[in-house]
């Protein structure tokens, strides 16, 4: 049973991240996902220090607020003339450093495992069950991620055309009256949520892998946004299932294996994609050249 819960958790993380990641890479904001996932650390620590509990709800709340602060600060620095990659770099490393500082200052009373925040521990997912009226109804992480996925799917499905136009042509979107800034913050809010719900299981660093790698792979395989999202989901699920079995065979980190599988799938798409693949393109050029020669 433990394998099932681990794969399900991985698949849910990959699904949440896969949908949002498509919009992030199309808006050239892949690094914003990276920034949010790192800067949730101080949010988690502050929430822990204030509430004194390791209850996920408080941590989620703290992390989500810091996620918004991150996006807001990045935007503010950009608007006042700091280059966009520099402002992302400044904001998330500073906030992450504050988190590290807070942990080290309170090391005596903080029962918070930094490794766990950074790398997560998907193997323990099944031990933390939710029980209703004495009945165990499944791991907490699965419920948390399931609800997050539901919210993400609902919002993206309802406002698909707005998200799409804001990603492709924000000027036209604004001209026809779509509140571009609002949708920007909604997207960032969803990214914060996905990151925060995922970090307990796969950790703050590997979540970036699932946020960027499956959508980047899907981007190479299709020319339609809808299809890109579907492929990104499929690739994410394959990564988590195949990653689990690889980890079991190698006796290695499960989350690490999941992202490694995603990386290998990306490499395959990069080389052999029917439209964009490096090898496919070379082969096509050669056949054209041979045909021309005769």
């Amino acid at each position: 049973m433990s394998g099932f819960w681990i794969m399900l958790t991985g698949a849910l993380v990959a699904s949440c991240c896969g949908i949002l990641g498509c919009f992030l890479i199309l808006r050239r904001m892949a690094l914003v996902g990276d920034a949010i996932s790192h800067s949730v650390l101080p949010g988690i620590v502050i929430a822990f220090l204030i509430s004194g509990s390791r209850d996920s709800f408080f941590m989620l709340f703290g992390a989500a607020i810091i996620g918004f602060v991150t996006v807001f600060l990045i935007q503010m620095f950009q608007n006042s003339g700091v280059q966009s990659d520099a402002s992302i770099g400044v904001v998330f490393t500073s906030l992450f450093a504050v988190g590290v500082l807070l942990v080290s200052l309170n090391a005596k009373h903080v029962d918070l495992d930094l490794d766990c925040v950074l790398y997560g521990e998907i193997a323990y997912v099944q031990w933390n069950q939710i029980s209703v009226a004495g009945m165990e109804i499944g791991p907490k992480a699965v419920w948390l991620l399931g609800i997050t996925l539901f919210i993400i799917v609902a919002i993206i499905a309802l406002f698909y055309k707005q998200f799409k136009l804001c990603a492709f042509d924000p000027a036209l979107a604004a001209a026809i009256g779509i509140p571009v800034a609002l949708f920007h913050y909604v997207l960032m809010g969803l990214v914060s949520m996905a990151t925060v719900s995922s970090f307990e299981s796969v950790g703050a660093i590997l979540v970036v892998g699932l946020l960027i790698v499956p959508p980047a792979t899907a981007y190479l395989l299709t020319d339609r946004l809808g299809m890109m999202i579907v492929l990104s989901l499929i690739i994410g699920v394959i990564s988590s299932v195949a990653g689990y079995y690889t980890a079991a065979a190698l006796d290695a980190s499960i989350a690490g294996c999941m992202v490694c599988v995603a990386g290998v799938l990306f490499l395959f798409a990069f080389l052999f994609s029917p439209t964009h693949g490096l090898v496919t393109r070379k082969l096509r050029q050669r056949t054209t050249a041979t045909r021309e020669a005769y």
Binding site: K161, F168, A175, I176, R224
Partner: protein
């Protein structure tokens, strides 16, 4: 303050005291004008004269320090469906995973409201608009596979799909082939025939007299605005371009011929 023109008809677009600044430097200074319905209007001026900025400020894409925009006598925000916009081609990522028809259908989003999705009707409109710019055969083509001119025509088809009465086009002629230039100008004349008003940011001074009914010369501030015949003169142009144009005179019609400009 109703902005009726002399004939008593409400102007499609009236702009009052528009000032726009990036950081502290005003790029557009105190521009006021009112356009006549059913005209093709060229917006001309040197690089950095604030032509695109003016359009963006009118459309609310760039915050203005002061100024008011009325579209058919009412604030722009309540008249969005009457306005079509063609941004500069370079302003979007043509590697976006979508095809030509899908881009054209985006022109319908404003009419669809908050939650409705584009369906068969939007598809039909999209195909019709693609056909009008001679791109029907490319409907399913991934947009990065189109040439620059074809991309520009897709943008125009999208503007047609907006089914507006007042259009803003930001350099539609920039970097297009002769066939596309011809297709665009045919389309502009067709829009004009339907009584629509089109404002075009334009760079090629040689074609101004041929293409536009009215000309707006700007260089930060409004230098001149009026019928092409009386406005597009050497004196006004020198004023707008700060005396950096070279004219060749003495051709039979005594029309000034511009040989070098600081356009692009």
């Amino acid at each position: 303050m109703a902005t009726s023109s002399t004939s008593g008809i409400i102007s499609p677009l009236s702009v009052t005291n528009m000032t726009v600044a990036y950081q502290k430097n005003p790029v557009v200074r105190n521009v006021s004008f009112e356009v006549n319905e059913g005209e093709l209007i060229g917006i001309i001026g040197p690089n950095g004269a604030g032509k695109s900025t003016l359009i963006k400020a009118i459309l609310g894409l760039q915050p203005a320090l002061t100024g008011q925009t009325l579209v058919y006598g009412k604030p722009y925000k309540t008249q969005r469906k009457l306005v079509g916009y063609v941004p500069q081609r370079e302003s979007v990522d043509w590697d976006f995973p979508t095809n030509a028809l899908d881009v054209v259908m985006m022109g319908r989003y404003g009419h669809l409201g908050l939650l409705r999705r584009p369906g068969a009707k939007e598809k039909a409109i999209g195909m019709e608009c693609l056909a009008k710019v001679g791109m029907a055969d490319f409907a399913g083509r991934q947009i990065s596979q189109l040439s620059g001119g074809q991309q520009q025509r897709v943008f125009l088809a999208r503007a047609l799909a907006q089914d507006a009465t007042l259009y803003f086009m930001d350099e539609p002629f920039a970097g297009v082939d002769a066939a596309t230039e011809k297709a665009i100008i045919t389309l502009l004349n067709e829009l004009k025939r339907q009584g629509k008003t089109v404002l075009v940011v334009h760079h090629d001074l040689a074609t101004v007299e041929q293409y536009f009914d009215s000309v707006m010369l700007i260089n930060g501030e409004l230098i001149a605005f009026g019928p092409t015949g009386t406005t597009f003169t050497e004196r006004r142009l020198q004023e707008a371009y700060g005396g950096r144009l070279t004219f060749l005179k003495g051709n039979p019609s005594d029309e000034p011929l511009i040989v070098a400009g600081t356009g692009r």
